[in-house]
C-alpha cells in the first residue's frame, strides 16, 4: 500500500513538473498581437548606439529593444535613455518592441556612455567615442638650433576646442620656387607637431614649409638667413 501511495505521489509530482516545464517552454510569436499576455512582459532591454565613433555634432542613432523572456518583443510602452556623460535623459516611445531616436553627438570629445531603462529594468551600457573634428587653423613657429631648425605648432584643436588626438600623421613638404626639396611626415604628440629640419636639407634660396594635417594646411616661409647658408 505504501509503495502504491509512493508511486501515485511521484507520478503526480512528475506530472506537475512536466506541466510547468511545458508552460515555461511555450514561446509566443504573438506578443505583438496580444501584448497584454503575462508572457510578453519586458524582461530585458537591449541598447544599441551607433556609429560607435563620431565627430562632434554628427548624428547618433539610438535603438532600444524591449525583450520578453522568450526573446520576442516585450510590452513596454516607453523607455528612457540616459547619456551618463551629461546626465541628459531622452524619452522614446516603444512601437512593436523597438524604441528609436536620433540625437546629435556632443561637441566635447571623449567617451560617452548611454544606458536605457524601463522602470527597474536597466539595459546594457553602450559606449560611443566622440573624437575631435577636423583641425582648426594652426600656427607654426620656427626656431634656430645650431645647424638645424626646430619647428613647433601651437596646440591643435578642432573648431570646438577639442584637442586633435595624438598619433595622427601630418605631411611636411619643404619647397623652393615650386620645386620640392624635402617631404616627410611626423605624428601629433600632446596635441602639437614638433619636428626638426637640418639646414643642409634646405635650399640656399628662400624656401617654404607646408604642413598638412587631416586636410588642413599651414604654410610658413623659411628666410635664407635662418640657416644663413653657413651650414654648407
Amino acid at each position: 500500500m505504501k509503495r502504491i501511495c509512493f508511486y501515485i505521489t511521484m507520478s503526480l509530482l512528475t506530472f506537475e513538473s512536466s506541466a510547468l516545464t511545458t508552460k515555461a517552454s511555450v514561446k509566443s510569436p504573438r506578443c505583438l498581437l496580444d501584448n497584454s499576455a503575462a508572457i510578453c512582459k519586458t524582461e530585458r532591454l537591449n541598447l544599441y548606439v551607433g556609429p560607435q565613433s563620431v565627430e562632434p555634432g554628427e548624428p547618433l542613432y539610438i535603438a532600444v529593444e524591449t525583450v520578453n523572456n522568450q526573446g520576442g518583443s516585450g510590452n513596454s510602452n516607453n523607455v528612457v535613455i540616459v547619456d551618463t556623460f551629461s546626465g541628459r535623459e531622452y524619452f522614446a516611445d516603444v512601437k512593436h518592441g523597438l524604441a528609436h531616436l536620433e540625437i546629435t553627438a556632443p561637441i566635447q570629445a571623449g567617451r560617452i556612455t548611454f544606458i536605457s531603462r524601463d522602470y527597474d529594468i536597466i539595459s546594457n551600457e553602450a559606449e560611443v567615442l566622440v573624437h575631435a573634428a577636423i583641425p582648426d587653423d594652426f600656427k607654426l613657429v620656427l626656431e634656430k638650433e645650431k645647424n638645424q631648425l626646430f619647428v613647433s605648432s601651437s596646440i591643435i584643436t578642432d573648431k570646438f576646442g577639442n584637442m586633435i588626438e595624438d598619433g595622427q600623421a601630418a605631411q611636411i613638404v619643404v619647397s623652393s620656387r615650386g620645386a620640392l626639396a624635402e617631404v616627410f611626415s611626423t605624428q601629433l604628440v600632446s596635441g602639437r607637431l614638433n619636428f626638426r629640419i637640418k639646414c643642409s636639407a634646405l635650399p640656399q634660396s628662400e624656401s617654404s614649409l607646408s604642413v598638412n594635417l587631416r586636410g588642413v594646411s599651414t604654410k610658413i616661409n623659411i628666410p635664407p638667413y635662418m640657416c644663413g647658408g653657413h651650414s654648407r
Partner: protein, 506 residues
C-alpha cells in the same frame, strides 16, 4: 606476396596494376578529405538559387536609411526570410536564426521526421523595412503575406488545411561579425482569409483548338515565338470556326529572371493578336512542371500572380488553367499534395485578381469534379474510347450540378493520332473525331488537340518510347499548307453546328 609466388609469371603485370589501384585509392581519399563535412557551409548554399529572382517583393517604403542598405544586404535579408520557410538543418538555423526567430522556425515541425506535423506556408510575401538603424546594423522588416496552415500525416499521406490567413509579421535582423542574423519573427496581425471568385459566369459555347506553332511546340513556343506563323495560324483557326484556343505557358521561361519579362510581353502580344480576331484564350500554367513540394509554393505563387497581373484583365482571356493534367502527378506527388497545391495557387490568383475564371485541366473524366466547388469552370480531357464520350460528359455534368451547382463543363483536350504501326490513317482519325464531337453537343467548350502535327516531340513530353513520340507527332487536323485532313473537315462542321447554339441562345 603469396599470390605473386603462386603466379610468378604475372608479377610484372600485377605490379603496375597494384600501383594504379593504390593511386586510385589515394585519389579517392584525397577527394573525400576535401568534401565539406556539413551539408551547408556557406550562406549562399542555404539560400535557394532556383530562378535568380525572389518570390517576395521588397519595397523601401520611404523609411529613413532604408535606401542606404546595399542590394547585397537586402538580398541576404530576403534570403533569410525565404529560407526560414523551408526548415533548414539544425546546425545552420542555429547560426543565422537566433532566439525567438529560431523558435518560430521550430513551429514548422514538418522539418523534422515526425509522422504527424504542422506547418505554415507563406505566399505572396511583401516586405518593407519599418526601421533601419543609422549605422545599418539593425533592420526591422514588416512582412505582409498569405499564410496557409497545414497538418500533415505522413503515415497516411494526408494533408489537411487548418486555416488561411492574411497576416503581418515583424522580423528583426542584426548585423553581427558573422553576418546578418534574424532575432525575431512575430505576428502583428492575422485575419482569416477566403478568396472567392468574382468571375463572370461563362454562358457561351466555345469551340477551340489546343495550340503550339508547329515549328516551335512546347518549350520552343516562347523562346522562338514565330510571330508570322502564329498570326497565320490564328487566321486559319478563325476560318475553321474556332472562337477559342488553349495555350501553354512554359514554366522555366516565365520564371527565369532573365526571360520572365520577355515571356510576359510575348504572352500579352499573343492575346492582342487573338483579341483582334475575337478569339478567346485559355492560358494553361505550369506546363512541363510537376513539382508540388511546399518549398516551391512561394515561387509558384509569385509566378502565377505575375502572369495574372499582366493578362488578368485582358479582353482575350477566357480562363487560366492552373495545371495541365495535374491528376497524372497523383502517383508521384500524392493526390493530397497536388490538391493542396492547386488550392493554394487558386487563392494566389484570386488574391491578385478575383475576376479571372479558373479551371484545372484534368486528364480524365474520373477526376473532373475534383475541387469543383472552387473552380469557375470544369475542364477535363477525354482520350478514352470514343464510345461512351457522351455518357462520361453526362456523368460529369450531373456530378458537378450536385456538388457545385451550374458550372460550365469544358473538354479541353480531345483528339486522335493518325499514327498506327502500319502507317498513317487519316480517315480513321477523322471518323473517330467526328464520332466523338457529335457526342459533345452538351459540353460548354470543346478543344481539339491539335491544329498541326509537330515535327519534333521531345522525350520530356511523352517519354522515351519511340511509338509514343511518333503517335504524339500526328495529332494535327490540318496539313502544314493548311489543307484540311478529314479530322479538320469534321472539326469545321462541328464548330458551325456547336457555335450555332450561341446564336439560338441569343
Amino acid at each position: 606476396m603469396s599470390v605473386l609466388r603462386k603466379f610468378p609469371f604475372k608479377r610484372r603485370r600485377i605490379f603496375p596494376v597494384l600501383m594504379l589501384g593504390a593511386l586510385a585509392v589515394s585519389a579517392f581519399l584525397a577527394g573525400r578529405a576535401n568534401e565539406p563535412t556539413q551539408q551547408f557551409e556557406y550562406l549562399n548554399e542555404l539560400i535557394p538559387q532556383t530562378v535568380g529572382v525572389f518570390a517576395s517583393e521588397w519595397t523601401d517604403a520611404g523609411v529613413g536609411n532604408a535606401e542606404k542598405l546595399a542590394k547585397a544586404d537586402k538580398d541576404t535579408l530576403m534570403g533569410l526570410i525565404e529560407s526560414a520557410d523551408f526548415g533548414q538543418p539544425q546546425d545552420m538555423t542555429r547560426s543565422v536564426y537566433l532566439g525567438q526567430a529560431q523558435h518560430s522556425l521550430s513551429l514548422n515541425s514538418c522539418s523534422s521526421d515526425a509522422p504527424k506535423c504542422k506547418m505554415s506556408v507563406i505566399l505572396n510575401r511583401e516586405v518593407s523595412p519599418t526601421y533601419v538603424h543609422g549605422d545599418l546594423r539593425i533592420v526591422s522588416l514588416e512582412e505582409k503575406s498569405m499564410r496557409r496552415d497545414y497538418e500533415v500525416d505522413r503515415s497516411k499521406g494526408a494533408i489537411q488545411i487548418n486555416g488561411v490567413y492574411e497576416q503581418t509579421r515583424q522580423m528583426r535582423f542584426k548585423l553581427t561579425q558573422r553576418g546578418w542574423v534574424q532575432t525575431t519573427s512575430e505576428i502583428l496581425s492575422e485575419n482569416s482569409a477566403s478568396f472567392s471568385s468574382s468571375a463572370e459566369i461563362i454562358n457561351t459555347k466555345y469551340a477551340g483548338l489546343n495550340y503550339y506553332p508547329h515549328t516551335a511546340p512546347w518549350d520552343k513556343f516562347w523562346t522562338e515565338f514565330p510571330g508570322e506563323e502564329i498570326q497565320t495560324d490564328l487566321d486559319f483557326m478563325q476560318s475553321l470556326g474556332a472562337n477559342s484556343i488553349r495555350i501553354f505557358v512554359n514554366h522555366a521561361y516565365f520564371t527565369d529572371g532573365a526571360t520572365r519579362d520577355d515571356g510576359l510581353a510575348k504572352l500579352d502580344t499573343f492575346l492582342n493578336w487573338s483579341a483582334a480576331r475575337k478569339i478567346k484564350v485559355i492560358v494553361t500554367m505550369f506546363d512541363l512542371r510537376a513539382d508540388y513540394r511546399f518549398t516551391n509554393w512561394s515561387l509558384d505563387s509569385a509566378h502565377v500572380r505575375s502572369v495574372v497581373d499582366k493578362i488578368g484583365n485582358h479582353e482575350a482571356l477566357l480562363a487560366i488553367d492552373l495545371k495541365n493534367q495535374a491528376d497524372l502527378d497523383f502517383e508521384n506527388a500524392g493526390q493530397p499534395q497536388v490538391e493542396a497545391w492547386l488550392s493554394a495557387m487558386m487563392d494566389s490568383v484570386r488574391s491578385e485578381n478575383s475576376s479571372v475564371p479558373l479551371t484545372i485541366g484534368w486528364s480524365d473524366a474520373e477526376h473532373a469534379t475534383l475541387l469543383a466547388q472552387h473552380v469557375d469552370m470544369i475542364s477535363y480531357h477525354d482520350y478514352r474510347s470514343v464510345k461512351g464520350t457522351d455518357n462520361r460528359l453526362a456523368q460529369v455534368k450531373a456530378k458537378v450540378t450536385s456538388m457545385a451547382g451550374d458550372k460550365p463543363v469544358f473538354l479541353t483536350e480531345i483528339g486522335n493520332s493518325r499514327w498506327s504501326p502500319i502507317g498513317e490513317n487519316s480517315k480513321k482519325q477523322g471518323r473517330r473525331l467526328d464520332t466523338r464531337l457529335k457526342q459533345l453537343a452538351d459540353a460548354d467548350g470543346v478543344f481539339v488537340w491539335t491544329l498541326h502535327d509537330f515535327e519534333h516531340v521531345g522525350t520530356n513530353i511523352v517519354g522515351h518510347r519511340p511509338w509514343r513520340r511518333a503517335q504524339q507527332k500526328l495529332f494535327g487536323i490540318a496539313n502544314k499548307d493548311n489543307s484540311l485532313l478529314p479530322s479538320g473537315e469534321a472539326y469545321k462542321t462541328f464548330t458551325t453546328q456547336f457555335l450555332n447554339q450561341n446564336l439560338e441562345t441569343e
